[in-house]
């Protein structure tokens, strides 16, 4: 995997002084104007680089959307070019090359697409978690917008925090834990019922209450991002 220079965090302004080597272009192999198709090794290193950038970008607490979109689009282009093409001129390199491409595609394509798709999808799902208004962080002016046109402003879509530290499969697990079913009566009712005086409700109710409180604590902790992600205590999900 080509990683000749360390990738830097978005916020670091100091770039090390670099001398750039002259690179070859990566040209679309289907173009008749192209003199020669890119060697698969180069495409795959660009692929790896892009995947690395993508993961790095997603690790940020709030990814730069433009950067993310451009990297994803580039990755898609590279992926598309790495797919076996019947119009590709015969490559002098050994059969290892297509195998490399195939294995890369097999191993990363599905997982990548799935994680990318689910990630971008989940970014808009997090909206459902935050019903509370945003904290007032300015000089006390109420800043709740109520735009005169469509609901797009009324329901603020949120770029969730949890996505910043997740990759691939863990993402699914997180959002499996935090789904709307946790807010239904099953969670809340035992707590409220336990508050009523009920002599016949013995240890059973208290036990249920305990579990629910633990779940609630876990949920709140995750929402404020103070807790590392782990399986919550409770019935398996």
């Amino acid at each position: 995997m080509m990683l000749s220079k360390g990738l830097k965090r978005k916020r670091e302004e100091e770039q090390e002084k670099e001398t750039l080597a002259v690179d070859t272009w990566w040209l679309d192999p289907s173009l008749p104007a192209v003199a020669q198709a890119p060697p698969p090794a180069t495409s795959s290193s660009l692929f790896d680089l892009s995947v690395l950038k993508l993961h790095h970008s997603l690790r940020q607490s709030e990814p730069d959307l433009r950067h993310l979109v451009l990297v994803v689009n580039t990755l898609r282009r590279v992926q598309a070019s790495m797919a076996p093409e019947p119009t590709l001129p015969p490559m002098p390199s050994p059969s290892a090359a297509p195998c490399v491409a195939d294995s890369l595609l097999a191993s990363s394509d599905a997982a990548l697409s799935a994680s990318m798709a689910s990630l971008l999808e989940d970014l808009s799902h997090i909206e459902g978690l935050s019903q509370a208004p945003q904290p007032l962080v300015d000089e006390g002016l109420p800043g709740r917008p109520a735009g005169g046109s469509p609901p797009s402003l009324g329901a603020l879509d949120l770029l969730g925090p949890a996505t910043g530290c997740l990759l691939d499969d863990e993402l699914e697990g997180l959002f499996e834990d935090i789904d709307t079913s946790m807010y239904d009566s099953e969670l809340w009712a035992p707590a409220s019922e336990a508050l009523k005086p009920g002599p016949e409700d013995g240890p059973g109710k208290e036990e249920a209450l305990e579990l629910d409180e633990a779940e609630l604590d876990y949920l709140l902790d995750v929402l404020v991002g103070t807790q590392a992600l782990e399986r919550p205590p409770g019935p398996g999900r």
């Binding site: 750039l20 660009l46 971008l120 925090p161 929402l223």
Partner: protein, 501 residues
Amino acid sequence: MVLQPSERYHRDWSHRRLGPWCSPTGSPAPLSCETGCGEGSWILVCRLLVPTQVSLLSMEEDIDTRKINNSFLRDHSYATEADIISTVEFNHTGELLATGDKGGRVVIFQREQESKNQVHRRGEYNVYSTFQSHEPEFDYLKSLEIEEKINKIRWLPQQNAAYFLLSTNDKTVKLWKVSERDKRPEGYNLKDEEGRLRDPATITTLRVPVLRPMDLMVEATPRRVFANAHTYHINSISVNSDYETYMSADDLRINLWNFEITNQSFNIVDIKPANMEELTEVITAAEFHPHHCNSFVYSSSKGTIRLCDMRASALCDRHSKFFEEPEDPSNRSFFSEIISSISDVKFSHSGRYIMTRDYLTVKVWDLNMENRPIETYQVHDYLRSKLCSLYENDCIFDKFECVWNGSDSVIMTGSYNNFFRMFDRNTKRDVTLEASRENSKPRAILKPRKVCVGGKRRKDEISVDSLDFSKKILHTAWHPSENIIAVAATNNLYIFQDKVN
């Protein structure tokens, strides 16, 4: 005024030349006449450092005696990352120049007044006001830190004695009022001169407070805060020509505000797809037409520009015009889209043209022709063969701005190695200049620079491989009517002026 971070401030006049190059009325002569922009006729007026420690500030006797608001200055005695300038903007008369930095601070410079005694001082800019516009915030709900970096500053046209500007970080736009106070009331009845309450029993006479002159004080107060309307990062703000509204644009949405109303805004553009996984394009910049208050443009990461008319519908989902240049097949690469991403869009002062900046070029478009630009200028085409490395170190994502001069005849944009480029649209000549301390010798005119792309390197040329990619000129500004430019290089602000022989 040249300010060193680690030593006493001093004023370095040694590179001043007499007589700024400008006709007496202040209207700019075309750059192409006489000296022309290709003949190194720019001189350094002053290099300003955003002050980092008030104790280092030594007020020269004839420099301004205004009080600098020192409660926001930093403790360090050296320039920090927080001092990196992130936006530069002249006001509509050119009298004031505002800078915003990564630390959320705004520093306003004022042009030295012309005086008979010191005619060579005209064109100098001195610190006028400093204030903390935005503070770092923490969004507890999303566990996100909100950067205090000032992304953009836009001035409002002056309508009374006070100055107004909009400044924005990623999430919140603020309207600031900057006003001068040179008188204060004295002789209160209930308070003494220090402001302490007097015991009413001791008051035996009444007097009328009078206004007495005092040392000039410039104060900045936040008048409006426009918050909680952007989920994504704000990249642009633009004041409308009606002076009543302005817009703020983030990656996916554009909102229209009224200056008087802070708790609601209208969403006028929304390109967020129903499924985020279908997201392939973001908004990169937006600006109102300079004269038609119903028109605005916004650019995208795919190299397109859309002109919208707010009279057509409340939500401007359908553009009136769509500007896109077809891709050049011979230049296609995996990075084609990234380098086509538009980082800045600016209307000409006339309102007839728009200028866009993408990674390698600056383009001028006629509003009446959508299928291609009328002019394309290569900023640093020698980077085209290095795109992969630039992608690797993320330089390919740098967002350069571009500016028009007052007469729309010259355009300017930045590059790497502290280079910036000017293109004369009439003569088609261009020049590369450098904003750096080492190369600003006293009494010398800025020497045009040249990048050697291959083959034999001449003595004064610099080879592509020696370029310093950490020194990038992203933000520049041009005085609205004179040939005075401001160039931001990290934490330095350079002010250059065209000279006349």
